[in-house]
């Protein structure tokens, strides 16, 4: 049991510092109500992007249906908290969202994950659209195209921050577990992985279900922070938004997704004053980034505390062995 090693301690300090910095920003008024919305969007996007990165970047399954699972989470939480407007209701709603999204992902995943590449992408896109149209047609439960309004404001950025940390811990630990390594093996070469005795459908489905569950959490947070949800919020374009974050950060890099969510969130703030030109600049930036750095910001590398510590060590003590490595 080496849970309290230097790396974990480093991450803990890192998280605490990030939390305190935001807390300081909010209490000192640096982050006002407008920037707090951006902050929440970034936090929610981090959960969505890391979940989708688990599906696309780590298991190599091209899913375009993330918005559908987000919609499930948002509506479960929305309906639950309208009936029970307390923090218990919120947690129950999030849990319900996780359960429903996981069940749907399981039902959908087992047959469709046999499809490959673009065919899987289009099938998952179809699933997300079916979810959205189902929500549109559920009558008084979901209120059709008008959506749910008056969802109690129960989410604060602190709560969202906690959920970001929890979902990151779940995803990173899954990737580092033996199941996660099997998942990465499937990404590298599905046929070779299968011939090594890995049950490919099983691990692909697990990654898909975890991704769907985190998307449901993000959707729930979205619903209880913004108070209004409509089926039009969860279209194909929403899935694309998340996909852009994942690819921009680097497929197969969790820290890349986090950084990309933050960077794109900040770029959006800076582009606000440009009005109608905003989306044009955004799309030009997107094309330029992809042309000049097609593997994303981080590629498949991770930013790690232990690397940082090791680098310091290397800088202070140059052993002969390391010199040889340089040659």
């Amino acid at each position: 049991m080496k849970q309290f090693n230097k790396t974990n301690l480093g991450w803990l300090i890192f998280i605490a510092v990030a939390f305190l910095l935001i807390q300081f920003g909010v209490s000192s008024g640096l982050i006002d109500a407008f920037y707090e919305i951006t902050l929440m969007t970034i936090l929610i996007n981090i959960i969505l992007a890391t979940g989708l990165n688990l599906i696309i970047g780590f298991s190599g399954q091209f899913s375009l249906g993330h918005a559908g699972f987000m919609a499930i989470g948002a509506y479960c939480t929305g309906i639950m908290t309208i009936k029970l407007p307390t923090i218990v209701g919120l947690l129950a709603g999030l849990l319900l969202g996780i359960i429903v999204a996981s069940v749907v992902a399981l039902i959908v995943g087992i047959p469709t994950l046999r499809l490959k590449g673009d065919y899987l992408a289009i099938a998952t896109l179809g699933v997300a659209e079916i979810i959205r149209i189902a929500i549109l047609n559920m009558g008084s439960l979901t209120n059709g195209a008008a959506g749910l309004s008056g969802i109690p404001y129960l989410t604060t950025w602190q709560l969202a921050f906690i959920f970001v940390v929890v979902s990151l811990i779940v995803i990173v630990n899954y990737i580092k577990s033996s199941a996660g390594r099997a998942t990465v093996a499937i990404r590298e070469d599905e046929i070779a992985a299968e011939s090594m005795g890995i049950n490919t459908t099983k691990f692909k489905t697990i990654a898909f279900v975890i991704g769907a569950a985190t998307a449901a959490v993000a959707g729930g947070l979205h619903a209880s922070y913004f108070s209004v949800i409509r089926p039009a919020d969860f279209t194909f374009m929403k899935s694309i938004d998340i996909l852009i974050i994942v690819v921009f950060g680097g497929l197969g890099s969790v820290t890349g997704s986090v950084v990309a969510a933050i960077v794109l969130g900040i770029i959006n703030v800076f582009l606000q004053p440009f009005g109608q030109l905003r989306m044009i600049l955004y799309s030009v930036a997107l094309i330029a980034i992809m042309i000049f750095k097609p593997s994303g910001l981080f590629g498949s590398k991770e930013f790690t505390i232990s690397d940082l510590l090791n680098r310091k060590k290397k800088a202070t003590s140059k052993t002969p062995k390391q010199k040889e490595e340089v040659k």
């Binding site: 499809l115 673009d118 289009i122 149209i133 690819v247 989306m279 044009i280 992809m290 042309i291």
Partner: protein, 292 residues
């Protein structure tokens, strides 16, 4: 029964538009394995070019159709050179994101230029209605169907009979081997974009006629539908795109006619998923076995 035939006729003209757009998707996918998400936006640009030529320059249907096809072809070639060519050796997801970026750019560029409002497409041909018993066919439907058939025959001729078509087929089978045989692969890819974009431009004008309204966001939904049509028939296969386009058009109008138009998209997607699960490469696709 009469209602059924009536819906079938409506479905044929809608389906032929889907088929025209799907052809562009399928040709590009067949050659460079790229889902060209910007294709729906080229079709939107085509509709606006048609609107301008008819409304401002007072040209007839056929000249505007040709101008729209030419300008869209140029636009397609330009996009391919600037946005896709540098990414020839990158991952497919990166190319896909670039395509999405291009589609955002075209949408928002058009909103910036002409504003986001919906415009009425001018009536270029007289709305003559032919009745056969209680079944009605109007002039627009006939024009759309006839134009589509002519364009498809022309495409079939280019792909099957010309030297460029032969090169296209060679590149789609094996780009590296084609290069070894002295085929200029880059030119062939550009030519494919030109052909597909020209068809999308024609589809834009036709759909403007069909729905009588155009707006900068009109490319998204039919673009997606056409892509689904291409997948349904087997992406990369030209007859598959035709088959898929007509199938989706007919299914959609039948569901709207008999059931509820609210669920028509869900049923189209459901059919797609079921077909993909049963036959993962689409209806006309051949299943290739992978070797280790």
């Amino acid at each position: 029964m009469e209602n059924f035939i009536q819906q079938l006729i409506n479905g044929l003209s809608l389906g032929s538009i889907y088929a025209l757009i799907a052809l562009g998707y399928t040709m590009v996918y067949g050659i460079i394995k790229l889902i060209n998400f910007a294709h729906g936006e080229i079709y939107m640009v085509g509709a606006f070019i048609g609107y301008t030529t008819i409304n401002v320059f007072h040209l007839g249907l056929i000249p505007s159709l040709i101008i729209s096809m030419l300008l869209c072809a140029a636009l397609g070639a330009l996009i391919e050179r600037i946005a896709y060519k540098p990414l020839r050796n990158a991952t497919r997801v990166a190319a896909l994101i670039t395509a999405i970026g291009v589609s955002f750019l075209l949408q928002n560029g058009m909103i910036y230029l002409v504003g986001p409002q919906v415009r009425a497409f001018p009536q270029v041909i007289t709305k003559k209605v032919y009745s056969l018993g209680s079944i009605q066919v109007n002039q627009t439907q006939i024009t759309i169907f006839a134009t589509t058939v002519i364009l498809m025959l022309a495409l079939q001729f280019i792909v099957k009979k010309t030297k460029m078509g032969k090169a296209m087929r060679a590149v789609s089978t094996d780009a590296d081997a084609a290069r070894l045989m002295g085929i200029n692969v880059d030119n062939v890819i550009s030519f494919t974009f030109i052909l597909g974009s020209a068809l999308a431009g024609a589809a834009g004008v036709l759909v403007g006629m069909y729905y009588n309204s155009i707006d900068p966001m009109m490319g998204v939904a039919p673009g997606l539908k056409a892509f689904i049509a291409a997948v349904l028939g087997g992406i990369g296969i030209i007859p598959g795109a035709l088959f898929g386009g007509f199938t989706i058009g007919i299914v959609e109008t039948l569901i709207s006619g008999y059931g509820s138009s609210l669920v028509k998209d869900a049923i189209v997607y459901l059919i797609l998923i079921v077909i993909l699960i049963v036959k993962p490469t689409g209806l006309l696709g051949k299943n290739t076995k992978e070797k280790v």
